[in-house]
Symmetry: C2
């Protein structure tokens, strides 16, 4: 440049030009999150949004797809279809946690650690906040566990019970996390044959004892008993994991 010496130091920070679809998505997201629209409110049809925003249908659709994946709207096809506002629930958290766990090949140990951190608190809060409906769910899950025939039925009922405890805490964040962790543990425990009659009996007993503490509105006992239960389960699962890992590597060596 010619006038390099006398140049005043005008500095700009690096800028980012957002995409059109992102702009629309952000605008709609903010409106939805602000609570301006109650659950179920229909957004205008795509073609209507096109004339309002003067964007192309492609762009509008992309924005809607983004919101759909984020769980902020639900899209139905057909007449009387369209995009309907939906406030995100526990599921969306559970989904993304599941992606993290699966995608990062996270050690099962981490999942159990997290569970040991969370479930006692769930139990404590459940003892404080449970309502009759919660107790009914807990009892139902307990019975399902005791009378379950197949391994699959047992595991499913087991998950139900743990989720029921989380639900009884009436804390949506903890509930979402627990749903995700349960799903992850469920799918991993499914294939390993570590659930025998003894494990089942112990599980039933532990669940009953926690349930009773929750029923009695005894936060400390609930948390304490849950801690013991989860810790024992984690330890057992870990041992089995190691054992199968060893046997697998032995098989590998043999073949």
């Amino acid at each position: 440049m010619t006038a390099n010496e006398a140049r005043p130091a005008i500095r700009l920070s690096p800028m980012q030009v957002p995409k059109a679809s992102d702009v629309l998505a952000t605008e709609l997201r903010e409106r939805i999150l602000s609570g301006e629209y109650p659950e179920g409110t229909p957004l205008p049809p795509e073609r209507e949004l096109v004339v309002q925003t003067r964007m192309s249908r492609t762009t509008v659709r992309e924005a809607l797809r983004i919101l759909e994946v984020q769980g902020l709207i639900r899209i139905k096809a057909g007449r009387a279809g369209g995009a309907f506002v939906q406030h995100p629930g526990e599921d969306s958290v559970a989904d993304s946690l599941e992606l993290l766990i699966r995608g990062r090949q996270i050690r099962l140990a981490s999942v159990h650690e997290t569970r040991e951190a969370i479930e006692p608190s769930c139990a404590r809060l459940a003892a404080r906040n449970r309502i009759p409906a919660d107790l009914r769910r807990l009892e139902a899950a307990n019975e399902a566990i005791a009378s379950s025939g197949s391994l699959d039925a047992f595991l499913e009922a087991n998950v139900d019970w743990h989720v029921a405890v989380a639900t009884a805490s009436h804390n949506e964040i903890l509930t979402g996390i627990m749903i995700a962790l349960s799903r992850a543990i469920y799918t991993t425990t499914r294939n390993e044959g570590f659930v025998n009659e003894e494990v089942r009996a112990i599980t039933v007993r532990a669940h009953r004892s926690v349930t009773r503490a929750i029923k009695d509105r005894d936060p400390d006992a609930s948390a304490r008993r849950m801690t013991r239960h989860v810790h024992a389960y984690a330890k057992a699962a870990l041992e089995v994991e190691e054992r199968t890992a060893i046997s697998v590597s032995n098989e590998d060596r043999d073949t």
Copy 2:
């Protein structure tokens, strides 16, 4: 129909026809999650996917957008751009938790409850798993807090410290959750003027004491001190919230 009487009872259950873009997205998602492609692997360009899948570019793009929102790929424009495999990190969990918290207008109390459940465990694990780099981060955050001028700087450094503890636990699930909670608390505490000199001094002291326990590899002390700290903070925040709620409603009445 004419032959209504002799019709054999062929029954089908209700079926759901998936969308083309979902099929592609699911296929790619499974491949990515299976770990088949290492981080950073480029997917074929859109037009190439079109000829391979025989779908239209619209459909292909929609599938890619889905994966992008789920944090499984990162899309760059321009030459040498394209879609690159990305294993989901803590951020995606944090994002979805943030949506849950904001969208459901979740009580701040729930956030604090969750934090009280998680942070002591983080501290306990941190004491066990911390490496020198973790300690450096903790010390740095501590200093930043002590020397922070503005309220904003203080809060930011505060978040940094808590995230650093979570990171030191070397548990990616807990870390993701903590990032989300910190962000949520940060944005809500920002506007309420409850951080005064006294609060700051107390915070610094509490952080130092937890940091020391982590440094000394003392899990129990770490967890205990963190419990105290978080609990005190939650209680204080709650009190302020109530006070402002009252004063706000008074203002409402006055105007």
